[in-house]
Symmetry: C2
Subunit: 334 residues, 2 copies
C-alpha cells in the first residue's frame, strides 16, 4: 500500500508539474509551432514536383524554388527577385516557410490563400512570364504528370486549380518547428541563454509583440510601414493601397513572420535592411519611436536568432521528362 | 550419400550457370555502371552544399544546379544555358550525371578533371560571372562553411582548390546504376522487351557503339561531328580546334554519354535536336551514312530509353546563412 501510494503520489506530482509549463507558454504573446500533418501525401509529393519544376515558366529556367529557395530559408536572399529575362522584381520575395499561417499572401495581401498565391508568379510577365493555359498544357503533355494528377484528383484533365491546390498542399508542409525558442516556450529553460532571454523581454517591453505575435511571430495583420516617421525608400510599392485604393491603406503591408528571420535576409518589403541589426534599429525608430542602444539591439538580435526552426527536410524531386508533344521553353523569345 | 551428391551437383550447376551471364555482359560493347562508393562523406556533403549554393555566382541567383539540375537529369533541358543577366550560353549544358566517367570535361574537353571543370563556370562572365577570389571570400565569411572546410581539409583558410575538390567529390557520387539495360546486361533477360532488344542490336549493327560504348555509353573519345557530311548549325562552337588550334580538331567534340539520354534533351552540342527520334536520324545520316527507317528509329529510341538509371536521391541541402561580413550579391550591377 505504501508503494502504491508513493506511485500515485509521484504520478500526481507529474500531473501537477506539467500545467505550469504549458501555462507559461500560453501566457506568452508568441506560441510554438507544430510540425505539419499532411492530409494527402500524394498531393504533397505532386506539389513538391511542381514547386521545383521550371517548366511552369516561359523560359523553362525559373521555378517556385528559384525565388523561394528551400535551401535558403524559403527566400532568395536578394533585395528584390530576378524574374524572366533577368527582370528586377518590385519587391522582396517573402519566405514560403510557415506561409500557411499568414492571414493573406503577398506583402499587400492580394491573395487570400496559398492556392490563390501560387497562380500569381506563373502568369506574372516579370516573374515566370507564362500563362496558366500554357503551364497546364506542358503538364498535360507529360504522361507521368497526367498519371499523378489522375491519382490525386481523379481526373484525366489537368486544370490550373489542381496545379495550385497541389503547390499549396506542399507549401502547407513547409513549417519549421523545434526552434530553440519553441523549446523554451515548451518548458526547456536551458534552450535559450540569458542574453537571448533578455532580448525577448526587450522585444516584448518595447512593443514589438504588438505586431509580431502568435505562432508565426507576425503574418497576422497589416500595419503601416513608418508609424512614427515616414519610411524612406526607393521602392514604389504602396502596400494595401494598390488593392483597395483607400488612402488609409497607403504603406500598409502584411507584417512579415519573424520565424527563421536569420535566414531570410535582406529585410523589409524593399529588402533595404541588409542585416538584422539594421532591421531592428529601423523598426524600433520608425514603428515604436525608440532608439535601441547597441546592447539592446544585440540582445534582440540574439533572441531573433532563436526563432530559426527545423528546416523542411525532403528528397530532391525527380521530374518526369518532357515528350515530343511538350511545348518547348522559350527563354530568349520576346 | 545420394543427397550429398545431389547437393554438390546442384551447387555445380549453380556455379556453371553463373558465368554465361557474366560472359554475356563482358562481350557487350556497353558495360553496367555501379553505384558510387564515396570515399569521404563529409567532403561529399560539403560539395553538395556548394553545388546548390547560388552565392558562388555574382548575382547570388545561379548555382551549379541551375544548369545541371539534378531534378532534370543533371541538365537544364534548354538548347543552350542561361547565365548571368540572362546571357545566352554558346553551347548545350552537358549532364553532370556519370560525368566522372568522361575522358575529359566540357564538350571540347578543355578540363581534364571534374575538379578543373568546377572552377570554370564560377569565373565565366556569361555563366556565374564571379571570380574564384570573390567566391572564396563569400565562403570564408560564413562560420558554418569555415567549420566544414576545416573538418574536411584541416585548414582555417579556404581556397578555390578545396571548393572544386568538394564539388568534384559530390559530382563523383552522381552515377545512375540499375537502368533496365544494366539489369539485362547482368542477366535479367526480362528487364528489356523484344523491341528494346532489337533496338540494341540495330544500335550495334549500325556502328553506333563505335563511339557510344563502355559503361557511360560515350564520354571516352573525341569524334568529328559530321563525318559523312558536314553538320549544319548556327552554333559557332568548333570543338577541340578551340583548344589545339589544329585544323584536324575542327568540329571534334567529346562523344556525349547516352546514359539517361531520355532525360537530357535537347541533344548535340548546339541543342538542335529536340527529340531522340531527331537525334538518332541525324546521327545515322551524318556519322554512319545510314538512313534509319521509321521502324528502326523507333526501336533504337526504345533501346535508348532503357539507359535511364536510378537518379541520385538525396536530401535537399540546407545552406548556412550569410553574415554581416559576407559580400552582398550584385545581381543588377554591370
Amino acid at each position: 500500500m505504501i508503494m502504491r501510494a508513493l506511485i500515485i503520489s509521484l504520478l500526481s506530482v507529474g500531473t501537477i508539474a506539467a500545467p505550469p509549463v504549458m501555462a507559461a507558454a500560453a501566457d506568452e504573446p508568441i506560441q510554438p509551432i507544430e510540425a505539419a500533418k499532411p492530409k494527402n501525401e500524394n498531393m504533397v509529393e505532386l506539389g513538391k514536383m511542381l514547386f521545383f519544376d521550371p517548366r511552369l515558366s516561359k523560359s523553362g529556367f525559373i521555378s517556385c524554388n528559384s525565388c523561394h529557395n528551400l535551401s535558403m530559408g524559403g527566400s532568395d536572399n536578394l533585395p528584390s527577385s530576378i524574374g524572366h529575362k533577368w527582370h528586377q522584381g518590385p519587391i522582396n520575395s517573402p519566405t514560403v516557410l510557415n506561409s500557411s499561417m499568414n492571414l493573406a499572401q503577398f506583402w499587400d495581401g492580394r491573395a487570400k490563400t496559398l492556392k490563390d498565391q501560387a497562380g500569381g508568379p506563373i502568369a506574372n510577365p516579370g516573374e515566370m512570364a507564362f500563362s496558366h493555359e500554357l503551364a497546364v498544357g506542358v503538364l498535360q503533355s507529360i504522361p507521368q504528370y497526367r498519371n499523378r494528377f489522375k491519382e490525386v484528383f481523379g481526373s484525366d484533365k489537368i486544370d490550373i486549380g489542381m496545379v495550385t491546390d497541389a503547390i499549396a498542399a506542399f507549401e502547407e508542409t513547409l513549417v519549421t518547428p523545434d526552434s530553440r525558442f519553441d523549446k523554451w516556450l515548451k518548458g526547456d529553460k536551458a534552450a535559450i541563454n540569458q542574453t537571448e532571454r533578455e532580448g525577448y523581454n526587450l522585444f516584448k517591453d518595447a512593443g514589438c509583440t504588438g505586431c509580431h505575435n502568435g505562432a508565426a511571430v507576425g503574418g497576422a495583420s497589416f500595419q503601416k510601414m513608418g508609424v512614427m516617421e515616414p519610411y524612406k525608400t526607393k521602392s514604389k510599392a504602396e502596400g494595401r493601397f494598390a488593392i483597395t485604393g483607400k488612402d488609409a491603406d497607403r504603406m500598409m503591408f502584411k507584417v512579415p513572420t519573424l520565424r527563421n528571420i536569420e535566414l531570410t535576409y535582406p529585410y523589409f518589403h524593399d529588402g533595404a535592411a541588409a542585416s538584422l541589426e539594421d532591421a531592428v534599429n529601423t523598426m524600433g525608430r520608425l514603428q515604436l519611436g525608440r532608439n535601441f542602444t547597441k546592447d539592446e539591439n544585440a540582445k534582440i538580435v540574439a533572441f531573433l536568432k532563436t526563432l530559426t526552426g527545423k528546416q523542411p527536410q525532403f528528397l530532391i524531386p525527380i521530374l518526369p521528362p518532357s515528350t515530343k508533344e511538350t511545348p518547348k521553353p522559350k527563354p530568349f523569345d520576346d
